[in-house]
Symmetry: C2
Subunit: 391 residues, 2 copies
């Protein structure tokens, strides 16, 4: 009996999304069993105004709902009119945060088509999160098909305007109706949609991030590499605190300065190394940071460009600061589904503020701007691409 | 502007419950505004059988409910028939685990009285958890009064039998109906009750705990010192894993061996130190472990006994193992509201199992048994005590 190696937080390689095994070892729900109940009361759609159609503020007419119980397995998937859930006060999701979620986007394509961007990667990551919380596993390809049906039913909600999209929020939560910290014998999977405008009306907008050395988001052996609900609540107060002193987000690190991520974004640094070579550097997936799908896409895109070195490594804040002080830092940016590319103009660390110049016309550095453009074209440009599924 | 010390995880001293400031800087709900709607459909009570009346399985006829919104503040407290909640699919509690809870117990006393045990300490801790998650603060004394009313309304549910009690579960959750990681503009506080039998029908039962060196519960800078929902979900899978190899719980440590707590219990070690003196040792409240109310009670009780040293300190697993190997370990036990005292008979660490003898008649060591007896007498013995409020 090997006690020592019983359970280990996986050390993810950069090929997290290389082998997308979406299968499930036991019977999953099937998209062919999906039933749809159309709403009788269509909701008035908000105007396509970035100031009104903000992230997460509106939902569409329907949602997808699939229940699971230990005894009965998965129920048939149902698309139903958007509604509130009836949740027992003892539900495990309310007390022990046995719940995980995903964030993806769909876009309008030519001829009234709907384009999803790497939704299979979200399905894969959600399966990993579910397993980590002892929530039921499912066939990710089947869930993707069900989501495609939901997108079709709510097709009119997908904004037909540049920079706008339909955010997809799959959620899986424990609904055991008894107290006690243990694997839930019941669960609910649901998928809701919300129409969203561009994160910043101007397209890109550099932010100031604060290096938080007193609060951590995640540590080795924890669940920072999974998209589980409990990773988010502790970040709310530190965010409020840094916003009070003029920053937009926290940069999360370990106490020794190991750089992890910033609020809901993976991090990228584009610098000249000490040998004068240009490098794009991002923290390696060590199990403490979220394996971002846009992160993975940026790595592949920049590697295929072949213009500079692209490196995943253990990265320390001291290296970042030194590169800025030496004038070697070219650009800094974050990446995330909600924001796409997020240029960074300043880092606050140890009572100092380190600023990096950016092109004030582009509101970003050249590379950030180029990547934002490439990604936007892939997502909304109407052309075929291996990351796009047109439905 | 001091960037460095903007936010700091508090280093709790052992006097966590010494100054129970339960006040609230802004208007709180008031117990005098409480309204009660009695149920029309009384639920059949389960029999007082420890095998049936298990932890968290049954709820009483009513619950206490108080809503909050940024605009309106706290609503009037209401005792209503037990019911499920209608929860919007975008609710912040379901996605970001912005939710915290408490666990306390009430007991039957003489003349049909109800006895609560240090419920004011739970109120204090819940206020700290709420503030850490940017949930609304409240007057803890007012909540305690509301809970007392709920206990009176459901008085018949409090079992009148030795070893049985009424578990009190206050919960506070974010109900913002929009996606986005930020402080919630809406929240719901509710308190539910459940009748519970003794954790083990035999009173005490030693367990085997596994020193988990690959998975952590909490790290410095995290929220392990608060009773927030997100601390629990990640422990479910590691618990299943160790149960497969014959252990009952995980012992949580940091990678360097710093001992924290075991599954839902604080830890105590009663040993002879290298000078041959008897010591009761427990990990110090460093912000990574839960400030248990029973932990605090045991420290006060044993200090007042004056029979041996009582020490809170940074404790390493290597010291624990060495004491067992040297034959200096007298007893090991955990403490928690649900289980009271939890004797430990064995620790699995680094491929070895370290066992400690216990009195097989008592099913515990002498000190564990004595503490269990003292606490049980205070809680259910019918006598006045500063930790008991009789209502």
């Amino acid at each position: 009996m090997m006690l020592r190696s019983l359970w280990r937080s996986p050390a993810f390689s950069f090929s997290y999304y290389a082998n997308l095994d979406l299968s499930c070892p036991y019977p999953s729900f099937q998209a062919r069993d999906l039933t749809t109940t159309h709403t009788m009361h269509y909701i008035t759609k908000p105007p396509c105004d970035p100031k009104i159609m903000t992230f997460g503020a509106f939902h569409t007419d329907h949602l997808l709902e699939i229940d699971w119980s230990e005894k009965m397995g998965w129920s048939r998937p149902q698309i139903v009119p958007f509604k509130s859930f009836s949740i027992h006060p003892f539900s495990a999701c309310l007390h022990y945060a046995i719940e995980c979620f995903e964030g993806a986007k769909a876009y309008r394509g030519p001829n009234n088509s709907i384009r999803t961007f790497r939704l299979n990667c979200n399905m894969y990551r959600m399966k990993q999160s579910a397993k980590r919380l002892s929530l039921p596993d499912f066939d990710g390809a089947e869930l993707e098909r069900c989501i495609e049906q939901l997108l079709k039913v709510d097709r009119d909600w997908i904004p037909d305007r540049q920079g706008f999209s339909c955010y997809i929020r799959p959620t899986l939560m424990a609904t055991e109706e008894a107290l006690g910290v243990r694997a839930s014998s019941r669960a609910k999977l649901f998928v809701a949609l919300c129409p969203v405008g561009p994160y910043f009306p101007s397209g890109l907008k550099p932010v100031r991030v604060f290096c938080n050395i007193s609060t951590i988001r995640s540590a080795p052996g924890g669940v920072g590499g999974y998209k589980v609900a409990g990773n988010y609540a502790p970040t709310v107060l530190p965010l409020k605190e840094v916003q009070k002193i003029g920053f937009h987000q926290n940069l999360w690190m370990l106490p020794d300065g190991l750089v992890q991520e910033m609020g809901v974004c993976n991090l990228f640094f584009f610098w000249k190394n000490k040998q004068g070579e240009r490098e794009l550097v991002t923290p390696i997936l060590d199990g403490t940071i979220l394996p971002g799908i846009l992160r993975d896409s940026i790595l592949e895109l920049t590697r295929s460009m072949g213009k500079f070195k692209v490196i995943e490594k253990k990265l320390y804040i001291q290296e970042v600061v030194e590169a800025i002080e030496d004038g070697r830092m070219i650009e800094m940016f974050g990446s995330g589904t909600a924001v796409s590319i997020q240029p960074i103009e300043a880092i606050g660390f140890n009572d100092k503020i380190y600023e990096v110049q950016y092109d004030s016309k582009l509101n970003a550095g050249e590379l950030s701007h180029e990547l934002f453009d490439i990604l936007t074209k892939i997502q909304t440009g109407g052309e075929e691409h291996k990351w796009i599924k047109s439905i």
